[in-house]
Every structure is written in structure tokens, then in C-alpha cells.
Amino acid sequence: MEYEVVMGLEVHVELATESKLFCSCSAKFGAEANENVCPACAGMPGMLPAVNKRAIELGIIAGLLTNCEITRTITFDKKNYFYPDLPTGYQITQLYAPICRNGFVEIETGAGKKKIRIKQIHIEEDAGKLVHDYRTGSSLVDFNRAGVPLVEIVSQPDFRSSDEVIAYLEKLRALFSFAGVSDCRMQEGSMRCDVNISVRKAGSKELGVRTEIKNLNSLKAIARAIEYETDRHISAIETGCEELVQETRRWDDNSGETYPMRNKEDATDYRYFPNPEILPVHISEEWISEVKSGIPELPHEKYERLTKEYGLSDYDSKLITGSKNISDIFDRTMEYVNNPKEVANWIIGDLASIAREENVPGDEIRIDCEKFGKVIKMVENRVINRTIGKKVLQLVFREDMDPEIYVRENRLGMIADTGYLEDLVREVIAANEKSVLEYKAGNQKVISFFMGQIMKRTQGKADPAAVNSILKKMLS
């Protein structure tokens, strides 16, 4: 029997504002517990919400990037539930007049291009965080995140495979991070995703029983959870050994399984109602076009620039524009080395492989681009050879070393003195007569053996081009 999986996504993205949604506390990640908290975001009485204009602008941008209609008069509502990380006992969100509606995102997978429809995007405040101390059995609450602005992007049930889900999330991440809507870091929780999933027989028009999967913290976890949940649904349908119920399930990344959290019957009644403390906000045509004109270069625009203006390959341009971080490193390094092809080669070749060795994903590579640029320039100007260049880059990456000082102090400058190199080559040839004979018999590989010997004697500092031509001359 053929089955079709039907999925819809709810993606939460923390907006990259300086301050929180309704107070002036910093919205930055990584502060000491309860450092960014004021009476307002601690839920104290007497405080009233003041809407962060930038959050609304970022909401507008999110809508423009996903081809949504922007609602001209938006309102905020209150969603009631008790939980210790929710200081006021209600979350301010948008139910009745969300900021964006009816959009779409075009994705590309191995199966081709496809449009995923967006139902709506709404703005809301985040909750705090509970930390459980299992030794004492107590729980502590950190309100730093409470009141941080989010947008929730609700898709239509248009996904049919985990590939599509991943492609969509990567697309959203690229769009939002390039446009400055959010840094979209899943591991820091600034991008979170819940998957609504059901399975039906292929060709059927009726939807199957739907479950919602939560606690998905990486793209890998999402793909695994979808696979697990799909299998669970199919085996339930086929064997009948388990009854499928509409429920919310929690993904456990360690066991690789989902577990029931709550079902439809004990679903919370959130008692939504319009927030009387916030008057409706009007979004004018002028405001939208002002916001629109301020959107920075988007991935596809940058791709055009890289391929057309800089003549970079399709492959290189896609890699560079696939991550906001890599793309920023490219731009910043270009300020020091005006050679796009060289910079692209260094990023995609050397920098990427160094990062891989250190287990740092592309989005998290941090490097001083001025120093990176210096390394490239030193190689370009034949101050050091490329092999040494890569070693120096490694140190810049790991220890933020100044490459010029390091090269000078460790005498790593390239040896290009022809007389000195000729002497060395002569010594090497004299000591390896057998190899010389092999070369003369037609074995070209011997050249690299000799090169290795020279490099060994110069601690890798010899000018490879010079050595190469001397070798060829002397061996013939």
C-alpha cells in the first residue's frame, strides 16, 4: 500500500530587535539569568505594554519576504494559561488580526520546485525559561526571554516529505537572516518548529488523524522525527495495534521516539480575548514601502551579483549565499582583498575545511576578516606560500593570531632565492639517484617526491613554483 504524508508547520522565529516587544529590556541571548528583566517583563502590576515599533517592522518584512498580504490594522490579544515561566499568566499574541496573511514560499528539492502556502504570520511575546535542579528537586525561573518578540509562521498543510520541510526551513532561515528579521539559530532557540503530521492512503482526499510534534531542536531531529512519526502512523493504520489519536507529542532526540504530551481532551482552553491595553496599530502604505526599501540584499539578489558581477561559479555562489554568516564573511573579507575569486576559494576551500576539522558549522564560523584578508594577501603577494598560508589561517581561526606578526616572528616568509633553492635541489638530486633514473624513465610522480624533500628542508617555506621550474630544468 502506498501512503502519503501530509504536514503543516508552525515556525517560531525570534525577532532580531534590540529590546523586548513591550518594554525596553535588552532582547539579547546569553545574558546572566534574570539580568534582562524589569517590572514589566516580570509581570508586575501597574506596568502597561508599549509596542516595539521595530518588531512590527520586522513582522512586515517577514510578510513581504513570504509574499503575504500585510494587514492594515493589526490588533493584539491575550492568551491565558498558567505556567511559571509566563510572568503575567497570559501571553500577548495576535489571534483576530495577525500582521500577515495568505502568502507563499517557493522551495526547491530534488523533486523540483514547489510553492508552500503560508496561512498567516503573527507577532507574539516569548515566555521565560524554567531550569530544573534535580538534586534539590526545585525549579528556577529565568525571565530573560520573557517578552522577547517572536513571529509565528503558520503554513498550510502543503508538505509531503521531510525534504520539503527541510528545504522550507532552510529557505526561511536564509531569507530571514539575510533580511535581518532573525538570526534563526535553532540551537539557541531563536528558530523553533512544530510539525503537524498525518498519514493517508495515496490518492485519498480525506486527511488522517493529526499529531503535533514538539521539541524539535535541529534540522536533523526534524527529519528523524518525521520519519519516526510517519512509520508509527503507517503501522498503526496497517496493524491496528495502536489507535491513533489527535494529540501533541514530544520528540526525544536520545531515544529517537515521540511520546504523548497531551491529547485533544485535555488541551488547554486559552480563553483568548482582545487586549484592551494596546490600541489597534495602523500600518500605512508609506510605512510598508519605507520598510521595504530598507531590506538588505537577499540571498537570490546576492547570488545574481556573485555570478554576474564577480563571475563566480554557480556552485561557489550557492555555497556563499546559503548562509548569512558565510555571506557576511565574504563581504567583509572583500573589503580587504578585492579579488572575489580568491576570497571565494579561500572560504570554500581552506576556511570551510578548517571549520570542519574543528566541528564548527558554517553558521557559527567566527573569524576576524581583516586578518583573514591579510593571510590571503600575503599568499597573493608571495610573502608566504599557500601551504603556510593555510597553517596561518588555522591559527587565526583558532587563536585570533595576527598573521603578519606571526609570520615575521616565526620566519615563515617564503624562500624564493633561486641560488639557494638551486643548491638545495642539487643536494636532493645527488642523494636520490634512483629517483632521478625513474623520472627519466617517464615517472612524473617523482617531481612531487623531490618537492616534498625540498619542503622538508625548508620547513615548508620554499616557493613551490620556483622549486618546480628548477627541478624540471635540472632533471632534464
Binding site: 517590572p39 499568566g89 484592551p276
Partner: protein
């Protein structure tokens, strides 16, 4: 007397002093809002109105007692005790007092003590630093002995505050009595339900000014509308009192649900609990449309009715007491202005006073009528 009307008393050097209901915050001072839940709550912030009065050179005389969170109630007779604000002003313990009169207690009781109560248009005075009760109706008003004094103080506290999103954009207000003649309306159906004493005051007043009769629509259902909407908002505004971060916490709990339930069971009075339960009921998915939404609709219709009325009248005059002593039924009298966010003034006329209500932002009409009444010796 201090102890009768004040929850906490401050030292003053002059007579130029104001009292605040104990739900208005003074930095570093106790703000109990009349609730065990906040019995030890030291305010980390200060209400905008307090800053403005202090800047104007007035002194804080104290925090006057209120019923729990100043909410409208049904089971307790809140009218049986005198409001702290009216008590303190009438006894000369302070020059004026500020209160959030959603329940109607001050507009009912001030005139009986020979005082005025001025309730400004919703959005005139910042509510930053006011412990919220019913956010869509909360508005600070002034209890005063003298009408000029009252409008003078209102002029000090009124004006836009960036910390309260709902305040009007006007930075400042200065009130001056409007000149008559005024067209006054008197609601016949309300007068039929008024108690005799209260009705007589209104009739006499209306007779002297010349008033035209009309029927106040939706009067019968105003208590329900008022109660449904206020409970919804009260339940929401008080969910922050959960024993987690501040305020009262039960000593008797094991686990989270216990902590919530016992804290709130011990911390709130019965009418408060009833309000939160009714609030949850009317906002639940099943009942939202039948109760909350319907009430909102009536509120909108009432507002439209008010617009129509004030195209014919400069102000309407209303009694302050019904034949039926039930506090719940009496809410109908105070709900019209509160639900529509209209300005009203309670006037000490006759034995138990009356109230005048005008179109939004027409405080100067009310001021003018009051001044005329004083001049004519009414």
C-alpha cells in the same frame, strides 16, 4: 480616623496634600490593593499621576483603603462601608483623593459626604502604576470638596504618557467651565427604577435646569454586560498573582498545581474568586460568543446610543441609587459612563447627590454645569 480610611499614612507639612487609593503605586511604598495577595508588596515603580502631583508641589498624605483590587462585586455589599477616598477627603485628612472607580462606589458615596467625584474620559489620565482591575474601563478620577480644585488637579494629572498606550495624544489639559445654556437629558426608565430620595434630587435638579426626557437603551442588561466584561478582564489581570514571583505564597503546597491553587484560594476574597471563575467561564471557547462577544456587541451599541444621545443633549443627569439595594443591580447606574468611557461628575446636590454624564472629552461641559449650579445656589 487615619486607621479607618488609610492603609498607609505619609507625613505631610502642608494642607496641599493628596491621597491615593491603595492600588496606585508610590515607589518604595506598600501597595496592597486591598488584597492579602499583595499584603507585603513594595512597589518598584511609581505611577505617572504621582510624579505629576509631586512635581506640582503637592504632598502625599497616604494610601486610602479600597475593596479588594477595587473590583465590582456581587456577593459583598461594597456600599455598606465608606470608601477610603471619600472618607479621607470629607474628614479633611487630605485635599483631594485619586481612585479607580470601576465599581461606582466613589461616584455613589462622594456626594453623600458633600463631595464631588470627577471621572474623566477614558484615555485622559495615565494608568501607569495603577494595579489593573478592568483594563478597558480603568480610569483615575478625583474626589474633591471643591469643583474648581478638582478640575485643577485633573488638569495636573491628565495628558499623554508614553508608558500608557491608551492615553490620548494631548500632552496637557487645562479645564475651564463652558458657558450655558445646556441641553440636559433625563432618562425616564432609569428614574422609574431610582429610589425615592435619589430620584427627588435628580428631579429637582432637572426641573431647575430644564431637562428633556429620553429612554436609556440597554439599561436593563447593563449589570450583566458590565459584570461579564469586567470579570473577563479581572480574571486575566489577576492571573499574575500566582505565588511564583511576588506577593503572597501559600506555605502549604507540594507541586505546582498545589502552589497555584492554595496561594490563590488563601490570597483572594470570595468575590474575587467568583470574578475569576466567571471570567474564565465567559472567555472559554464554548461560551465566548454567547457571553463575552455578545456583551462586547451591546457595549458597542451602547456607545452608538451615547453618540446619538449627545447629538441631542450636552449632558444627561442620572440618579445614584436604585430602589433595589442589591449592589449588582445598582451597577447599571455607573455602567453607562464606565462602559462607554464617558466623563461624569457626581454632584453633592440634594440629600444624596446625582451624576452628570457628557460626551467623551467634554469635561468642560460638566464643569460648566457644576459651576452654574453652584452659582444658582442649587
Amino acid at each position: 480616623m487615619d486607621r479607618e480610611f488609610f492603609a498607609s499614612r505619609y507625613e505631610t507639612k502642608t494642607d496641599n496634600s493628596f491621597a491615593l487609593d491603595d492600588n496606585i503605586m508610590v515607589r518604595g511604598g506598600l501597595t496592597t490593593a486591598g488584597s492579602k495577595m499583595l499584603q507585603n508588596f513594595v512597589s518598584p515603580l511609581q505611577a505617572t499621576v504621582v510624579d505629576r502631583l509631586l512635581d506640582a508641589g503637592m504632598e502625599l498624605a497616604g494610601k486610602t483603603k479600597i475593596d479588594e483590587l477595587a473590583i465590582p462585586t456581587v456577593s459583598e455589599d461594597i456600599f455598606a462601608t465608606l470608601s477610603g477616598a471619600a472618607g479621607a477627603v470629607s474628614e479633611g485628612l487630605c485635599r483631594i483623593a485619586l481612585c479607580n472607580d470601576v465599581s461606582g462606589k466613589n461616584r455613589r458615596q462622594a456626594p453623600a459626604k458633600g463631595l464631588y467625584y470627577i471621572h474623566p474620559t477614558y484615555g485622559t489620565v495615565s494608568r501607569f502604576g495603577l494595579v489593573p482591575a478592568v483594563s478597558s474601563m480603568d480610569q483615575l478620577g478625583v474626589v474633591c470638596r471643591d469643583i474648581d480644585d478638582g478640575f485643577n488637579v485633573l488638569g495636573i494629572i491628565a495628558g499623554h504618557d508614553e508608558k500608557d498606550f491608551t492615553t490620548f495624544p494631548e500632552k496637557s489639559y487645562s479645564y475651564a467651565p463652558k458657558e450655558g445654556p445646556f441641553r440636559i437629558g433625563i432618562p425616564v426608565n432609569v428614574m422609574e427604577a431610582a429610589d425615592e430620595e435619589s430620584g427627588n434630587s435628580v428631579n429637582e435638579f432637572a426641573g431647575r435646569l430644564g431637562a428633556e426626557k429620553f429612554e436609556l437603551k440597554y439599561f436593563e442588561v447593563l449589570p450583566q454586560v458590565m459584570y461579564i466584561l469586567s470579570c473577563a478582564e479581572i480574571g486575566n489581570n489577576t492571573s499574575r498573582y500566582d505565588g511564583i514571583k511576588f506577593g503572597y505564597r501559600t506555605e502549604n503546597y507540594s507541586g505546582l498545581n498545589d502552589l497555584y491553587t492554595n496561594t490563590r484560594t488563601e490570597g483572594f476574597r470570595p468575590d474575587m474568586k467568583l470574578a475569576t471563575i466567571i471570567g474564565a467561564f465567559v472567555l472559554s471557547k464554548k461560551n465566548y460568543e454567547a457571553y463575552y462577544l455578545k456583551s462586547m456587541k451591546i457595549r458597542r451599541l451602547l456607545r452608538e446610543h451615547a453618540d446619538e444621545l449627545f447629538s441631542r443633549f450636552d449632558a444627561v443627569v442620572m440618579p445614584l441609587r436604585l430602589k433595589d439595594p442589591e449592589p449588582y443591580r445598582n451597577m447599571a447606574l455607573y455602567a453607562f459612563a464606565t462602559l462607554c468611557g464617558l466623563p461624569s461628575v457626581s454632584i453633592p446636590f440634594g440629600s444624596c447627590g446625582l451624576q452628570l454624564i457628557a460626551q467623551a472629552r467634554n469635561e468642560n461641559i460638566l464643569y460648566g454645569i457644576c459651576k452654574g449650579a453652584v452659582k444658582d445656589g442649587i
